[in-house]
């Protein structure tokens, strides 16, 4: 399960940040997740709830907040951008296939709230 692996990553990274800042209790962790990153929030939340209890003292009671970043594709041919999920790889304006994902594949920790 993909979500479980990334949850372990997040826990490890948050524990590093907490140690660097002398924090002992994390209230919430905010993630930024791209629309086409392949992560399903519902699964992520379930993995989170299981993993923080099993794997981490400082994150035990923490809440996971997910902010979604919309997916946008850029067309090299006509230099316009469009919604990735709706149109896919082919530009709806000029039908070119020379397009690339500008944003929407992110998976980052934005911030944590802790004491």
């Amino acid at each position: 399960m993909h979500e479980l692996g990334v949850v372990f990553h997040v826990i490890k990274m948050v524990e590093e940040v907490a140690a660097d800042n002398n924090l002992t209790e994390v209230e919430s962790v905010t993630l930024e997740i791209g629309e086409v990153s392949g992560i399903i929030e519902e699964y992520l939340q379930k993995c989170w709830n299981w993993a923080v209890v099993k794997k981490s003292d400082i994150l035990r009671n923490s809440k996971l907040i997910v902010e979604e970043i919309p997916a946008v594709t850029f067309c090299e041919e006509c230099a316009q951008t469009y919604e990735t999920v709706k149109y896919g790889k082919i530009c709806p304006y000029c039908e070119s296939q020379k397009t690339y994902l500008q944003q929407g594949n992110e998976f980052s920790i934005k911030e944590i709230s802790a004491c």
């Binding site: 399960m1 993909h2 479980l4 692996g5 990334v6 372990f8 990553h9 997040v10 490890k12 990274m13 948050v14 940040v17 800042n21 924090l23 209790e25 209230e27 392949g38 992110e106 998976f107 980052s108 920790i109 934005k110 911030e111 944590i112 709230s113 802790a114 004491c115």
Partner: protein, 222 residues
């Protein structure tokens, strides 16, 4: 009432893993060890391909195999039958290996006596492509029964591989597998990918594959 404060982190999971992977790659280069990350769907023939590769190279190169699976040790036992050293890494339900897990596996395995470590990644065409393991080169197997359209369906996997091995060519006549279309689809996603046709069962095409591995290993340790 506890006073919580907000701390900005702004760290990407993938970038974090990429940094860790780059570090591991450098450490292995210093130790003159070539790490081959082998990926494919379940049943594409990773273990059988590894066994034949070891048999062909065992007089000249010392090869060890790290088998990543969710459970069981059937693959590690199959490799051990060739006389090569093998270790089974259980991913604990996870669908891919990341650089940190690879490092732990290498530490436990002990690789000082080896020239090549083959990492048999979890059978899956999606997540293993997203996580750099720290390998020297990435190779994937696409087997004939899976169909020639897979490069279009799993673009990321094909775009991260240095070599795509089309395996099970001995059954080509029984499937509607279009060899030319397959090559074309792979090169749309990854113009630099080397495509080789092999059969782990008959040994067809293995000279080219083993030559590639021999040359890349020699270049890596220089």
């Amino acid at each position: 009432m506890k006073e919580y404060k907000v701390i900005e982190v702004k760290r990407s999971i993938f970038e974090d893993n990429d940094k860790d992977a780059a570090k591991l790659r450098e450490e292995l280069k210093q130790q003159k060890i070539f790490l081959l990350n082998l990926m494919s769907s379940p049943g594409a023939g990773k273990t059988t391909l590894i066994k034949r590769t070891i048999t062909m190279l065992k007089e000249e190169l010392k090869i060890g195999v790290m088998e990543a699976d969710i459970d069981s040790d059937v693959d590690a036992q199959a490799i051990a039958d060739t006389g090569a050293r093998a270790i089974q890494i259980h991913t604990g339900g996870m669908c891919h290996l990341d650089a940190d897990m690879t490092r732990q596996g290498i530490k436990e395995f002990g690789v000082q006596d080896l020239d090549i470590v083959i990492l048999e990644n979890v059978g899956n065409l999606v997540c293993p492509a997203e996580f750099d393991t720290g390998s020297s080169k990435n190779v994937m197997i696409l087997s004939v029964p899976e169909g020639h359209d897979k490069p279009l369906k799993y673009p990321l996997m094909f775009s991260v591989c240095d070599v795509v091995l089309i395996n099970k060519t001995d059954v080509l006549t029984y499937f509607d597998f279009d060899v030319e279309k397959c090559k074309e689809y792979i090169h749309i996603r990854n113009p630099k990918a080397k495509v080789m046709f092999v059969s782990s069962k008959t040994g067809e095409g293995f000279d080219e594959w083993v030559d590639w591995l021999r040359k890349e290993t020699a270049d890596w340790v220089q």
